[in-house]
């Protein structure tokens, strides 16, 4: 009888790696074997393909069928090979012309009735097909999110449709999603002027923030509003972020529409859940927050190992997982927002209520985040409980839309001047960007001496001061900006 090779791919990290599905149909004992390091889900393709092929009205060959997924050493996982196996089988048994298998890359899961379903990582498959310069044959249900420049997508809903040849290129309109969360707004936040200002600076300069305050002070409420003042994702960011969401099996339409991700994992999260891992390796929350905000509520309650694992992505914006099969890189460039109680009972430093923690417990609690991680957090502020009288008064603060404009303006300025946000500057680059006059320089030297700032402390102070100057629309960092930056250094030494 015959052989047929169909192009498909398997997702490794955030990338779809090409895989050839070779189908051989020959005489012999009726067998259906899949070789080439398939996992259990791939093995189960046999049952799905057999039922789907029959349900779609094709013949299931009574023959020796061997499916080889090449390259052999690469582990294949998931259900996306179903469509390729079915297409190969039908082409090898001459039930379909060879033109379909020859022309495109295909991916999709089959249901028992022959309909074609989407699999996680459709976007990764689309990008791989585009870089090979071939059309992608895939589930019609995924067509809405795959309207990508330069990709020819051939949607099919059911394998019976293949009888009529290669499906037409279809491009249904993408589902529309608001690019900014519109149910939350900073205007609703009463009081908390310092915290709002700090979050504005953080958003403008790409700084990581830690909010410290007693329970019920409004830390979470403030953090949840941070995405409302971030500008929409640009085209490159959209694709990067959507790709991570796609391979994780999440909805990638919001990211493609430009919505910045906001991820708030619970403090019981494991290391793998937070930074990625598992088998096959999946992106963690840090990667799902790529180009957006990672919010860690009750930060000291997170496992120390999980917290420390965040240091690499905070430093280089990627997470590298090393496995026996090789190294995997997940993008993870996010703004970190942490929230913490000042102590286990929550009332240390509160003017109205006494802290009931044992001596030493407060220091231990605050030490749990760890120096190296704290070093990467430029802004630390206290969020106090606000006066109930203030809350009852009907007042509205500055709204998110106007803050968002300021943020966008600052980011643009920083990009023009330094090629990146102030939070990414270091050394001479940073000093040049700050363009301080002598008075400011003297003030900084004095502050560094009296507050015992380390070299790293000075760097962080300068970064924040640079952003404060951007928010004020000033070219040079002055005394005001330095003092404002000093104010964002609640409870720390060096």
């Amino acid at each position: 009888m015959a052989q047929c090779t169909v192009r498909t791919a398997t997702v490794v990290g955030v990338e779809a790696v090409p895989v050839d599905t070779e189908v051989d149909v020959g005489a012999g004992l009726p067998t259906f074997a899949i070789v080439g390091l398939p996992d259990l889900a791939v093995q189960e393709a046999r049952e799905r393909v057999r039922s789907a092929v029959r349900a779609a009205g094709y013949d299931v060959p009574n023959a020796r069928v061997v499916v080889n997924l090449a390259p052999g050493p690469l582990r294949k996982h998931g259900t996306g090979f179903d469509l390729a196996i079915a297409l190969g089988l039908l082409t090898a048994t001459r039930q379909l012309p060879t033109t379909i298998a020859d022309s495109c890359v295909c991916v999709g899961e089959l249901s028992l009735d022959g309909s074609v379903r989407a699999v996680p990582g459709m976007l990764a498959h689309a990008l791989a097909a585009r870089s090979q310069g071939r059309p992608l044959l895939g589930p019609a249900e995924a067509a809405a999110s795959l309207a990508i420049e330069g990709l020819e997508y051939l949607p099919i809903a059911h394998i019976a449709q293949l009888r009529t040849g290669v499906p037409e290129t279809g491009r249904p309109p993408r589902r529309s999603v608001p690019t900014v969360p519109n149910d939350l707004d900073f205007a609703d936040v009463v009081g908390h002027e310092l915290a709002k200002r700090a979050l504005l600076v953080a958003a403008a300069g790409g700084h990581n923030v830690l909010l410290i305050g007693p329970p019920g002070a409004g830390k979470t409420m403030l953090a949840r509003r941070l995405p409302t003042i971030l500008p929409a994702l640009d085209d490159t960011e959209r694709l990067e972020t959507a790709l991570v969401h796609s391979v994780a099996g999440l909805d990638d339409v919001p990211a493609l529409a430009g919505v910045r991700p906001f991820r708030a994992p619970h403090h019981s999260a494991s290391i793998a859940g937070l930074v990625g891992g598992g088998s096959p390796p999946r992106p963690g929350e840090a990667s799902l927050a790529h180009n957006g905000v990672l919010f860690l509520d009750e930060m000291p309650e997170f496992g120390p190992a999980a917290l420390q694992a965040l240091r690499q992505p905070l430093e280089d914006g990627t997470m590298t997982l090393v496995r026996a099969e090789g190294r995997l890189r997940f993008p993870a460039r996010f703004s970190l927002v942490g929230a913490a109680n000042p102590c286990p009972c929550g009332f240390s430093g509160d003017p109205d209520r006494a802290c009931t923690c044992a001596p030493g417990a407060v220091e231990r609690y605050q030490g749990r985040i760890g120096g190296p991680l704290m070093d990467r957090i430029d802004i630390v502020i206290d969020v106090a409980r606000i006066d109930p009288a203030l809350m009852l008064r009907d007042g509205r603060g500055e709204c998110s839309a106007s803050l968002r404009n300021t943020v966008a303006l600052c980011r643009e300025r920083a990009l023009d001047r330094d090629g990146g946000p102030p939070a990414s500057l270091r050394g001479a680059e940073l000093l040049a960007a700050c363009a301080m006059r002598d008075s400011a320089r003297r003030f900084l030297e004095e502050a560094a001496r009296t507050k015992h700032l380390s070299g790293r402390g000075v760097t962080r102070l300068l970064r924040v001061a640079r952003t404060c100057a951007d928010v004020a629309g000033e070219a040079a960092v002055g005394l005001d900006h330095l003092s404002e930056a000093l104010g964002y250094r609640a409870r720390e030494g060096g």
């Binding site: 012999g28 009574n62 069928v65």
Partner: protein, 122 residues
């Protein structure tokens, strides 16, 4: 196996042979044995070699007759099939595994079900 059980099996096989011949197949062997076990019926359906397992039951209380063809037994049939193809000196041919299930409902009356290509090996 009791004599009665054996008798029932033989009668079932006779009925199956008659059925297969009526549906146009050529019977090649009956009760072909080797050290691995036995193939109830070997037939030719055109060019295809059909290896047929016959299961006869009096009641469906312990499940239908075809349910007795478990995956473990399927693997045994596979070994038997290779042995037969080798012993008969056949070139690679198209092979099919059929199951004929008989459920006896009265003296001289049974429901017969013919499962063509009943299973595929993994």
């Amino acid at each position: 196996m009791t004599t009665e059980g054996k008798k029932l099996g033989e009668r079932g096989e006779d009925a199956a042979v008659a059925f297969l011949e009526r549906s146009g197949m050529t019977i090649v062997e009956r009760n072909w044995r080797c050290q691995n076990g036995e193939i109830d019926i070997v037939a030719l359906d055109g060019e295809t070699l059909v290896l047929c397992e016959v299961k006869t039951r009096r009641t469906a209380k312990k499940g239908t007759p075809e349910e007795a063809v478990t995956p473990a037994k399927q693997r045994r049939y596979a070994r038997l099939a290779s042995a037969y193809v080798q012993a008969a000196g056949l070139e690679p041919v198209s092979v099919r595994f059929d199951v004929i299930a008989l459920l006896v409902i009265a003296e001289d009356r049974a429901l017969l079900r013919h499962h063509r290509a009943a299973f595929v090996l993994e």
